[in-house]
Symmetry: none
Subunit: 231 residues, 2 copies
DNA sequence: GGATTTCCTAACGCCTTCTTAACACCGTTC
DNA sequence: GAACGGTGTTAAGAAGGCGTTAGGAAATCC
């Protein structure tokens, strides 16, 4: 529930508040990006496409409202405004400029984090792009944990799937025996290089057209294995 | 910009607050619907599909948080909670239950209206998805909490229903044992993987043509379960 | 307060998956 | 060409996960 490393952009010039927010966000497992001016904030938003933005209205270079409307020209990234000004007019103006929420200082960490979760919930709906790996006849949907071959489902056991996706994560590169054993069988001892040969054989039989002459699941003698990407 | 007659549902039992809100909303050109209890509110939401909901937490018949989570079983209609309780815990709980905003009484009319505009902006983005899930012989009406098979109603116990709809919400994806236990039995400890096996068996007997050879309610050995979507 | 439904729990047998071993194959080296 | 290290292949036993049933506890309904 605590967001798996969503990227948050913080636009704030006061060092003290910056530190407070940094600790709060990092403590909840979010990735973190910060800007001290509106210009810098807009630039970082363009470059990194954060999943939410915390914006202080009192910036040195430009009005916070302008930051919001400039951002809204091209993006719907959720913006939570943070401000010392608690007047109703300020809130209305910020919200109408395109902000999604308005929090008046001082505020509690837990409320802030709850409102960040709401913002991520909103943003997540649009950008729900699933990581899908496609190669030749294969289609691997990592979100669904599903492997299709020519559109038909191929059943892989947990170890087979883990081995296959590990090769996919390092697609094209050689993955050493040691590394595969560590990532698939999990650091613990007892994992033998023999396992790799057994499971590579099984994978080839399930996924390769000619298991004895693999086109993609290739052996790198003395080093490890590799998922070939060409063709 | 002031919304051309969007339909707002107000769930509130205090007559005074009702009058205040009615005047505010109608004055801004919104159409208007009101309920005095949680039950009535949920029923009106199902019937009229309002574009936003203003919800008071202090209702006579049921907890406001339950209203939100019941609503979230089938709908993403924006919910703005209005409450006299200003404690941080109250806010966090409501927002995490699925509310989109939290306003503490007393509040200003203009801020309320600004936050309503934000809510309508959010709601407008998403395509109004039907709260009915259809697959092969099944038809699940998430708003009515009703499961039909070949047009005939199938009775599911609360746990069976919760398990089934959890799989539906992640349709096509594998849902891990851990995740299912958390979502169905609620984070609290004590939930054992054994439960899943028992209730999956029951679900298959009620919903599958060949319970011993399930077509849709599939096991992913060592990982979890999945509602298959193909065919 | 009794009846009914729903939930939890234990037991048992089956089936998938993992591990392990044995052997065949290939290229290289001496 | 025989020996050797590394790899591919197959199969069988072991371990653990899963499906299924049933009975009693708990909650709910009337």
């Amino acid at each position: 529930m605590t967001g798996s490393g969503a990227l948050i952009l913080l636009v704030e010039d006061e060092p003290q508040m910056r530190r407070f927010l940094r600790v709060s966000l990092e403590g909840s497992g979010y990735r973190y990006l910060e800007a001290g001016t509106g210009q810098e904030g807009l630039a970082l938003a363009v470059q990194h496409r954060p999943e939410a933005i915390l914006l202080d209205l009192g910036l040195p270079d430009m009005d916070g409202l302008e930051v919001v409307s400039r951002l809204r020209e091209w993006s719907r990234i959720p913006v939570i405004v943070i401000s010392a000004r608690g007047q109703e007019t300020d809130k209305v103006d910020a919200l109408d400029a395109g902000a999604d929420d308005y929090l008046t200082k001082p505020f509690g960490t837990r409320e802030l984090l709850a409102r960040v979760r709401v913002a991520l919930r909103h943003g997540g709906l649009e950008a729900a792009q699933e990581p899908v790996f496609v190669l030749d006849r294969w289609r691997v949907d990592l979100a669904k944990r599903q492997v299709l071959m020519d559109g038909k489902e191929v059943h892989l056991t947990p170890l087979e799937y883990s081995l296959f996706t590990t090769l996919i994560r390092h697609a094209g590169k050689v993955v050493t025996h040691r590394q595969l054993l560590k990532e698939v069988w999990g650091g613990a001892a007892g994992a033998q290089p023999l396992y790799l040969r057994v499971y590579m054989t099984q994978l080839r039989h399930k996924l390769e057209a000619e298991p004895s002459r693999p086109k993609y699941l290739q052996t790198e003698p003395g080093v490890g294995y590799r998922l070939r990407m060409e063709d």
